[in-house]
Symmetry: C2
Subunit: 319 residues, 2 copies
DNA sequence: CTGTTAGCGCGTTCAC
DNA sequence: GTGAACGCGCTAACAG
């Protein structure tokens, strides 16, 4: 099916340089505790460059037992702003240390995933999102696994939201959850953090509602909030997209976000630029904790993670 | 660094089943033109299952010259709704045919990318977005490359936008471009299509402006449009995100999208649910053309692509 | 100190 | 149904 291509091997390089294959390997890998004359080194390097030698990964992997590859398992490609940013950062950090990040989305068939890790023999598997514990156990038999169920500290996010709103003088709060099941796995933590801060400040339980991407859902939610004996004056929303929907809904009701109801999002997506106050999650810092975990597993020295400044409220005019 | 793990090899299976390694290979791969008794087959399969044998990809790849892997090279993980959806679809289609899709984002270092394809020896490389022609040539030396610079037919999108708006009776059109350079590589095609249809209908050149994610940019753009001798009554926008920003900007000026100015987006992202009329691009069909190209390169029979219904106007109330 | 020989890792496949 | 060689890079053991 696939036409075989003629590869340049270390044997070709050895022949061209007039040395043995072993020498080529030592030179190309800069193997420690091996003294090889500079003359020979140059010879080998020149030959390798000349012939455009690219070491064959599978052969090396076969010998070593693992590749210099990190496999990230993700549930789907549409992960949202922060996750996608974090993957880009992880890619960069690993590349700097000589590893390649490969990303694979999991299909339903377990056969597929089984074959996959056997296929590339990654140095480390990074599991993002939830992975069933049996699957996890199975992968762990063969490779080290770093599980990153929660890339972002969801409770901290919820706390930050509540603290900001309370700091602005609001005493009656509400919270808006997503309906998407994928997002709900993060939403619970955010709501917990939000609630905890409310309690700590002696406020009543926040009025929790779910919204989706329709104006109607916003209308009915707002109606319910306004019908409360103590209508909320501010609402923490699970993320910016939903917050923007809420803002649009308010506008369509003739209400103004930030005046009639304070709206606070999470993520600081580009569209928040239109005036949404939001809890920004630093993509760089977010990635850092994940990167640190992966590097630790690889036995690479990791820059110490500094998580201060991870969350930051960007004040615009919706809250 | 990484602790070696004891693997189960075909030799183990052969020993357990009391047959030779060759037989194990033939049975496990169901090699054609090989007659092996059912009794032996059962023996081998049972032993393999018992020992939980997972074939070692690198060894097989070493022998075969390529893995059953397809490598997708993308410029970054934040690709937008359609691209990400298409990757998910491609993953599924390939999985059904026994291939694994691995995605890698390209960092600046070319060293890295060189090592990568050597690393996993993919059956096919799918390049998404632009790849410099020298890079392309280099990869092509070693692996078949499918280049998907334009996943979506941008001119068709622009045409569809113009046709819809003209069909609704608009005679003075405008177009809103993004400022993001990554998006601009698609924007030109959309604008071309839009323009072409305007010409064909004998309309004046559309008034083109760029907007970003701020209300201010929308305000100044709208001001300029309204100052025109013949102010546009409808605007095609490069994508939904920008269209939503435009809608928010109109609202903040006390104007109503769909009444004071018709707004038509592209993509049909979830947030469009709040009332944005938009050209939906079918993620499934989009993926289909890419999938067909990849399968063709793999020599797999591809389902014939049916591109009708790729673009579809979802009418809400902004246009 | 400099460089070589030889065998390994694991699945595939030709020749008997 | 089997023996043996092969694909390619790594590295322990060894020779000059």
């Amino acid at each position: 099916v696939v036409p075989p291509r003629r590869r340049v091997t270390t044997a070709d390089v050895a022949r061209a340089a007039g040395v043995s294959r072993a020498t080529v390997s030592y030179v190309l890998n800069n193997t420690p505790n091996r003294s090889i004359s500079d003359a020979t080194r140059t010879l080998v390097h020149d030959a390798a460059r000349e012939l455009r030698h690219v070491p064959h990964g599978p052969a090396r992997t076969l010998r070593l037992g693992h590749s210099n590859t990190v496999l990230a398992l993700i549930p789907q490609f549409r992960l949202g702003y922060i996750f996608e940013h974090a993957l880009d950062e992880l890619t960069k950090s690993l590349a700097e240390r000589g590893y390649e990040l490969l990303v694979h989305t999991r299909t339903d068939s377990e056969r597929s995933i089984n074959e996959l890790w056997g296929q590339i023999a990654p140095a480390v598997v990074v599991a993002i999102g939830r992975l069933s514990s049996t699957e996890l156990a199975e992968i762990e038999q063969d490779f080290p696994v770093v599980s990153i169920a929660k890339l972002v500290p969801d409770t901290d996010i919820g706390s930050k939201q509540a603290e900001y709103l309370i700091g602005r003088g609001h005493r009656h709060l509400a919270y808006a959850l997503p309906e998407d099941p994928f997002l709900m796995q993060f939403a619970a933590g955010r709501l917990d953090g939000f609630r905890a801060v409310c309690h700590r400040h002696g406020l009543a339980e926040p009025a929790v509602e779910s919204i989706d991407f329709t104006l109607e859902s916003v209308h009915s939610v707002v109606r319910r909030w306004r019908a409360l004996p103590e209508p909320p004056t501010a609402v923490g929303v699970h993320n910016d997209e939903l917050a923007l929907v809420l803002m649009a809904g308010l506008a369509s009701l003739g209400l103004r976000a930030g005046e009639d109801l304070a709206v606070l999002g999470v993520d600081n997506i580009p569209m928040a630029g239109i005036g949404l106050t939001t809890v920004a999650i630093s993509p760089q810092l977010t990635a850092q904790s994940a990167i640190a975990a992966v590097l630790a597993e690889l036995g690479e020295p990791a820059p110490k993670a500094d998580s201060s400044g991870l969350l930051d409220v960007i004040v615009r005019n919706s809250a």
